[in-house]
């Protein structure tokens, strides 16, 4: 069997009976066994259960009744997505032993299509971080350079797909947590429109920004996996039902006459090599017949403060339920109710979580609400209007994803402000709720992946996936040397 099995290839192998689900799963488990010791993509892999489910899938297919063409393909799932009977830690000590009694909506959809849970992937604690270094389970390493971070917070999912340990993976993106690790690890990652995918069972960080999305080794794979998890859900009042118009056959790479907006603000403070690479790739899109339109997203500079006020405010409330009373870490030394709260939370949460809870608690406090939270909501409105104007003159927006390529482990962890600033190019899409993705645009001179971002208007996933498909075709496929 080939070293890398994509979702599409795996589906073909199963359809032609060239491989069984059990064989695919066994190959992936062996690869995880040999590689993940040094990468640390996975927090939990339930080997025996997975093999049992693969055999069940094989029996369904043998009986001529697969649940879908993808029945029997395993995918990795970020560990902040609730999985029934499989512990779901959010990369935190406070949920180290938490085994949920229910499934996230996306997991039910995957199971309904016969896909298997390969394992739960590592992440920044409660998705707060841009490097997967804040995980209680240790950092994940970048498959291209193990001294470097894979990005975050969905670093485990991105690295697992990059290292071909998983055909595809689910992640979540609150401020770039799919796109930035996709860029650092050289894979495709899409954050769909807010509401496109049910959040039921996604452990909340910042509810108005969180969205589940997908990673694939190819644009097609990311799109295919997204098509399996999206759709309106009565369990999530913020979800909506929209037609799926981005199946592989819809993604032709045809760009003739398409207006591609290029926001100047997204090229400031970005490393020269990335700027050069993105501009060169934009040139190739123009050669395909796209019309390049300079645009301005003038409130981009406010995105960081707006994001860190709104996200932390929501987080301070969302993470209040981890109080040691009913589930999760409970400190044994507590002698009173107040101590139960303070000790469990002080010792159960990591430093970055506590920093953000304190920030959010402060900005919601009476006397500060208007100056911070309310002002941030107004700023968010300006950013939304920015995009509305932009999409009047452009069908799609392209830009860099990150200001640098993957940085070294430990390089930024003690400088939270610098780490927050590195999210500047991704958080606006979350504030506006629009779909955005990262697609590989080759390697840098030092051999690290460079990502290119494509953003579209609400529910225009088809357009951005099509442009991403063209960008993918314009370059050579990349893969880490393992």
């Amino acid at each position: 069997m080939k070293q890398r099995i994509t979702l599409k290839e795996g589906t073909a192998l199963l359809a032609s009976r060239k491989a069984s689900s059990r064989e695919i799963v066994t190959a992936l488990l062996e690869r995880i066994e040999s590689l993940d010791g040094s990468i640390n993509s996975f927090i939990t892999v339930q080997r025996e259960e997975l093999l049992r489910q693969a055999e069940e899938s094989d029996r369904r297919r043998a009986a001529g009744a697969p649940l879908s063409p993808c029945d029997g393909i395993p995918v990795a799932v970020k560990d902040n997505i609730i999985t029934r009977n499989v512990r779901t830690t959010c990369g935190s000590r406070i949920l180290e032993h938490f085994v949920p009694p229910f499934d996230a909506a996306v997991c039910r959809r995957l199971a309904g299509a016969g896909l298997l849970l390969l394992g739960k992937t590592n992440m920044d604690e409660f998705a707060m971080g841009s490097s997967t270094e804040t995980s209680f389970f240790g950092p994940t390493r970048n498959p291209y350079d193990r001294e470097r971070v894979p990005g975050g917070s969905s670093g485990g999912s991105a690295a697992a797909v990059a290292a071909a340990m998983a055909p595809a993976a689910l992640g979540s993106d609150t401020g770039g947590s799919i796109r930035q690790p996709a860029a650092f690890c050289g894979v495709s990652g899409i954050k769909p429109t807010y509401g496109r995918v049910s959040r039921y069972g996604l452990v909340a960080y910042a509810s108005s920004l969180d969205q589940i999305g997908t990673f694939g080794a190819t644009v097609e794979d990311a799109a295919l996996l997204l098509s399996l998890i999206c759709g309106g859900d009565p369990g999530d009042s913020t979800s909506v039902e929209r037609p799926v118009d981005f199946m592989p056959e819809d993604l032709t790479g045809e760009l003739k006459g398409m207006r591609i907006g290029v926001p100047e603000e997204y090229f400031q403070g970005v490393s020269a090599e990335i700027v050069e690479r993105i501009r060169e790739r934009i040139g190739r899109l123009e050669k395909r017949g796209a019309v390049i339109v300079p645009i301005s997203l003038r409130y981009t500079e406010y995105a960081i403060p707006v994001y860190y006020l709104i996200a932390t405010a929501e987080a301070s409330s969302n993470l209040a339920r981890y109080d040691g009373v009913r589930y999760g870490y409970r400190d044994g030394e507590a002698r009173s109710l107040t101590e139960l709260y303070t000790l469990s939370r002080s010792r159960g949460f990591g430093k970055e979580i506590k920093r953000r809870i304190i920030l959010g608690t402060f900005s919601l406090s009476s006397g500060y609400y208007d100056a911070y939270y309310l002002k941030a909501l107004k700023g968010r409105r300006l950013i939304i209007d920015d995009f509305r104007r932009a999409f009047e003159s452009a069908d799609v927006i392209v830009a860099p994803v990150t200001t640098t390529t993957a940085f070294k482990i430990g390089e930024m962890i003690d400088d939270p402000l610098q780490m927050y600033m590195s999210d500047i190019l991704t958080i606006s899409a979350n504030l506006a709720g629009i779909p955005a993705m990262s697609v590989p645009a080759g390697l840098s001179s030092s051999g690290l992946p460079v990502g290119m971002q494509v953003m579209g208007d609400h529910f225009r996933e088809k357009v951005i996936l099509n442009v991403a498909r063209a960008i993918e075709e314009d370059g050579e496929p990349i893969a880490p040397r393992l």
């Binding site: 779901t88 369990g235 999530d236 301070s316 409330s317 109080d323």
Partner: protein, 475 residues
């Protein structure tokens, strides 16, 4: 100095929906602990609330019934605080955009009718319940989350109430209205109505309010009234002895009939309200609101006024009869079956309500049709009012129709002129002495003769006819 109390009430009413506000768990009272829970109301990681539309409908009904304005746009907010009975560590409530504002209800105390303003009514979820116990000589606290997520409306009054009696009537009225529209079972024992009091006193005629005190732990309408009466006395006494009223929360001690200061708060609560991001705003069209308005039953005040005009009842009768929807329905059913309104009103208020509670009147063995049957016998002269009371008791125990009982026991009133004359003749013949006495001017003798005639007919003779015919014969 003359003082005036200023009182406002915060009332929590549990809506009687079958399922909880944000999940499909049952809301039944008294089930074993934690059997009516699911990941959503347990606040497990990753869950999301979904608004129960029935809660919305009943909330709007409640607002309309309290004459409030229903907002076309309202939203939910999170009220953040830590407590073990609050699984998410925030309560989903409504803060600055409640679903209803600016309502009012009418109360009547000692014949005086007043409008009491309602500032707002909003939707929210209930918390769970802590159970404190002792296990192996150690004190333990347990959490029952059956109640977590049960739908509530919080009704906040304007500071318009001026006495314990008015507060009592206000609560009665809220209870009446909520039951009329079937929004709540309004049972204080089961916690489906809870009330906190805000009270201050000021010099009569003053514009500014005095320092406000909050009273909690009120388990009955009577406790609300008693605590207010106590607190008015306490505050006036404090002021008169030169003390300042402290802003505090006091608890009512039902046994000792006093309020006492709750432990001083260590710090003021900051609930850090912010818009609930997991729920879209509530946007209601005028059509939706009108649809609910159209589906509401006639409300107690309207029905009371109609009882006065349509049936010619005294104001008092109309108020008593409309205090419970079931009672008013019972009355109107009896009228529908042909009873005279005033006679039916008298009978219901004196006889029926003597043997059954107004809110259980539908269970009364004498249903409106049977009561009408009984009253018809009186109107037709078949039985006297006095006999009717005996028949009524018999109907209660046997559940049978009045006519059947009267027939079987031979209780028919004798209105046959010939039959009555025959008895009169025999009584006159047997009591010549009394006849002479009467003719000689002794009025008492007439009473004796009537008594003898009634005795002969075992009370069944029509008393009016007996008197008329006897007088004719004695002329």
């Amino acid at each position: 100095m003359v003082f005036e109390p200023v009182i406002g009430l915060e009332v929590h009413v549990q809506l009687n929906t079958v399922t909880k506000i944000f999940c499909s768990c049952a809301t039944r009272f008294g089930s074993p602990s934690n059997t009516q829970t699911c990941p959503v109301c347990l606040g497990l990681p990753g869950v999301l609330p979904v608004l129960n539309e029935e809660v919305l409908r009943k909330g709007v009904s409640a607002g309309l019934a309290l004459n409030a304005t229903i907002a076309n746009y309202s939203k939910f907010d999170r009220k953040n605080y830590f407590y073990p009975d609050l699984p998410k560590a925030y309560q989903i409530s409504q803060y600055d955009k409640p679903i209803c504002t600016n309502g009012s209800i009418e109360i009547t105390v000692e014949g005086k009718t007043r409008q009491i303003g309602i500032t707002r009514l909003h939707l929210e979820e209930d918390a769970g319940k802590l159970i404190h116990d002792e296990r192996n000589r150690e004190r333990v606290s347990m959490v029952d989350l059956n109640r977590a997520g049960v739908p509530l409306v919080e009704i906040v009054s304007e500071p318009d109430l001026r006495s314990g009696d008015e507060a009592y009537e206000y609560l009665q009225k809220i209870k009446t209205v909520m039951k009329y529209i079937d929004a709540s079972d309004v049972n204080m024992e089961e916690g489906s109505l809870r009330c906190d009091v805000n009270i201050s006193v000021r010099q009569k005629g003053a514009q500014e309010f005095g320092q406000k005190v909050e009273i909690k732990n009120l388990n009955s309408f009577k406790a609300v009234r008693a605590s207010i009466n106590y607190e008015i006395e306490r505050q006036i006494a404090s002021i008169e002895s030169g003390e300042r009223i402290r802003q505090e929360t006091r608890l009512w001690d039902d046994g000792k009939n006093v309020t006492y200061s709750m432990r001083e708060k260590e710090f003021a609560h900051d609930y850090r309200y912010f818009p609930e991001p997991d729920l879209p705003p509530i946007v209601l069209t005028d059509e939706y609101i009108q649809g609910i308005r159209a589906s509401l039953p006639e409300l107690p005040d309207d029905r009371k006024r109609r009882f006065v005009t349509q049936y010619g009842l005294p104001e008092y009768d109309a108020r008593v009869l409309t205090s419970e929807k079931g009672l008013a329905d019972y009355f109107e059913s009896a009228i529908g079956a042909g009873s005279d309104p005033k006679r039916a009103s008298n009978w219901i208020m004196s006889e029926v309500l003597a043997v059954t509670d107004a809110d259980h009147i539908h269970e009364c063995a004498v249903d409106p049709a049977r009561l009408a049957g009984l009253l018809r016998l009186i109107e037709e002269g078949t039985i006297s009012g006095k006999i009717a009371k005996t028949v009524f008791q018999e109907m209660l125990t046997t559940g049978r129709d009045a006519a059947a009982i009267v027939e079987e026991k031979g209780l028919m009133q004798i209105s046959d002129r010939g039959a009555i004359e025959a008895v009169i003749d025999s009584v006159i013949a047997a009591n010549q002495k009394s006849v002479e006495d009467y003719k000689g001017g002794k009025e008492k003798a007439l009473k004796f003769l009537i008594g003898q005639i009634m005795k002969e007919t075992r009370g069944a003779a029509n008393p009016a006819m007996v008197q008329d015919l006897l007088l004719q014969k004695l002329k």
